[in-house]
């Protein structure tokens, strides 16, 4: 099997030094994707010919003009819920079998303009609803560190592809932890930018007030470079921030002196947290302290209500967003239905998987007459309290540090029959979506041979401080450099 690819920054240096070509990198990515496919199932589709053509174009430009961005000529992967013109965008759902996107997501337009080369689409939980990448019509993705375990979800394909060295960088979406929890389970960095930082135009909507696109990579440096490329105002997404693209890569000074990191006592004392995970995160905190940051205890009293609040709001929004899949304009249509209502019902019932139906039903229920105030409106009130908790904690700190997930990667099949237990895997991640804060997960240790991730949550608009802290941590540690040994 071909060797794993290095980080995007390493590949950039090799390209600039004339030691390799984009064509060679794309061939390696494609070969490794194919060689690992039977075991990992990380990709649902490759775009080999288009990627080869784009690599040749990038190679032809090199030497004649400056690189368009740090990602010029670098192979990357995208989650299967991000629209690319002329490519399928299936969301791992039967209901979108055969669908070909008529347009590019803004994120894709920006990546193309920057010279990045998409080699394939990655597996996910259907419509990004899940925490294990098992709710997929393509079957589960496996964790490169232990093939009997889940890579997390819902961006599990993107996480596995980066962790296995197939691509240095992939993008996912994060509605309640779907970038950070798989990053934690596979020993890589995953960044959920603040709400509105990256345009959602061309991201298939799950819960519009929570969804955000972001990068997964082995280093904070690569995540910073990726965010700088894809961020910035987009008139096609009215919720995108009216700000120019970030310049996070410049902020990676390696120095975190003077930064205050808050440790929420509720998270570290969490009864449901694996003690080995807590220990690794506490050691991570001490490492940041050695790097010059100061630690202080803070309190987030309402985070114990976050999972309940999240599952009421995200399902309500999902029930509305997924009404568009009706068999009329695109997607699967049930055959020989006698009338329109029957066609809707059968198309949707045959096309959606069990978890998607569960969430549509729950969302419809909490929005329905008689329940709206008790569930949906109440959840929105708690959401406001959560926002206040985070604002108060971040008034005295530059970032908060907590576990990403209460556990390491769990075995495949362990939770598919127990949705509530699956939801509790998101206990530490959903708050950043509910509050809109930027958050990232980075590797901080191992427990029983499996990676452990810690999470940094920042102030609104301040991804740069999170990336600076994560980069400083990675300059002092080697957790992110370790690689899983994939059986041949």
């Amino acid at each position: 099997m071909t060797e794993p690819l290095g980080t995007a920054a390493e590949l950039r240096r090799a390209l600039d030094a004339g030691e390799t070509t984009s064509a060679a990198l794309v061939e390696r990515a494609l070969a490794r994707a194919e060689a690992t496919a039977p075991r990992l199932n990380a990709f649902v589709g490759l775009r080999a010919e288009a990627a080869r053509r784009e690599a040749a174009e990038s190679d032809a430009r090199r030497g004649r003009e400056p690189a368009r961005s740090p990602l010029d000529g670098i192979p990357i992967a995208l989650k299967d819920n991000i629209a690319q013109a002329g490519e399928p965008c299936g969301c791992a759902s039967r209901i979108l079998a055969g669908y070909v996107s008529p347009y590019d997501a803004t994120l894709v337009e920006r990546l193309r303009a920057a010279g990045a080369i998409v080699v394939g689409r990655t597996n996910m939980d259907e419509f990004a609803m899940g925490s294990s990448t098992e709710h997929s019509c393509h079957g589960p993705t496996r964790n490169p560190w232990d093939l009997a375990r889940s890579p997390g979800g819902s961006s599990g394909g993107s996480a596995a592809a980066v962790a296995a060295g197939i691509v240095p960088l992939a993008f996912g979406s994060d509605t309640g932890g779907s970038i950070r929890q798989p990053a934690s389970f596979t020993g890589i960095v995953g960044l959920k930018p603040g709400y509105g930082r990256v345009s959602r135009y061309g991201l298939v909507a799950f819960a519009s007030s929570l969804d955000q696109l972001g990068p997964l990579a082995r280093s904070a440096e690569d995540c910073a470079a990726a965010l700088d490329v894809v961020s910035g105002r987009d008139p096609r997404d009215s919720t995108s921030l009216p700000e120019p693209p970030t310049r996070c890569r410049e902020a990676l000074a390696g120095d975190v002196a003077g930064l205050a990191v808050g440790l929420p006592r509720e998270a570290l004392a969490g009864a449901g947290c694996d003690p080995e995970v807590s220990r690794a995160v506490e050691e991570g905190a001490r490492e940041l302290e050695k790097a010059g940051a100061t630690l202080r205890e803070v309190s987030l009293p309402h985070t114990r209500y976050a999972v309940a609040t999240y599952y009421l709001i995200c399902t309500a929004e999902a029930s509305s967003n997924l009404a568009r899949f009706d068999g009329v304009r695109y997607g699967r249509r049930a055959e020989s239905a006698a009338g329109l209502t029957e066609m809707y019902e059968r198309s949707r019932s045959e096309g959606f998987g069990r978890e998607v139906k569960r969430r549509i039903l729950l969302g419809t229920y909490v929005l329905s007459a008689g329940y709206y105030d008790a569930y949906y409106r109440k959840a929105q009130r708690v959401r406001a309290l959560l926002r206040r908790d985070f604002e108060e904690a971040l008034a005295s700190c530059d970032a908060l540090l907590l576990p990403t997930a209460p556990e390491t990667a769990f075995p495949l099949g362990e939770r598919t029959a127990d949705p509530l237990r699956m939801y509790l895997s998101d206990v530490y991640t959903v708050s950043a979506n509910l509050t809109g804060a930027p958050a990232l997960s980075l590797p901080c240790g191992f427990a029983g041979g499996l990676p452990v991730g810690m999470q940094l949550v920042g102030r609104s608009g301040d991804e740069a401080t999170l990336l600076r802290l994560a980069d400083a941590f990675q300059r002092r540690t080697d957790y992110h450099l370790r690689r899983p040994e994939l059986p041949a």
Binding site: S238, A308, L312, G339, E342, K357, I360
Partner: protein, 99 residues
Amino acid sequence: MSRIGRAEVERIGHLARLRLEPEEADALARDLDAILGYVAELEALDTGGAPPASESPVTPLREDRAAASLPLERALANAPASDGSAFLVPPVLEGEDEG
């Protein structure tokens, strides 16, 4: 105490245009009952005068300017049934012919 049963799940299924087999509706009722039991912890929380978070955002507006939209043939390319200018659906009223 059960919060939701099969009949209620089937009623909501109809609102959401999901047709559920009896066993499926039973299984989903059990799942939803467990989830609603869990989220009930919010009932006891006094949120004081906190206004719902959803009622505070301001919708940003942009200038109303004409721009090209998706060309017809591309908009129709994924249609399960079309006549080249419109999407076709089964009869809206019972007894009518398709088209």
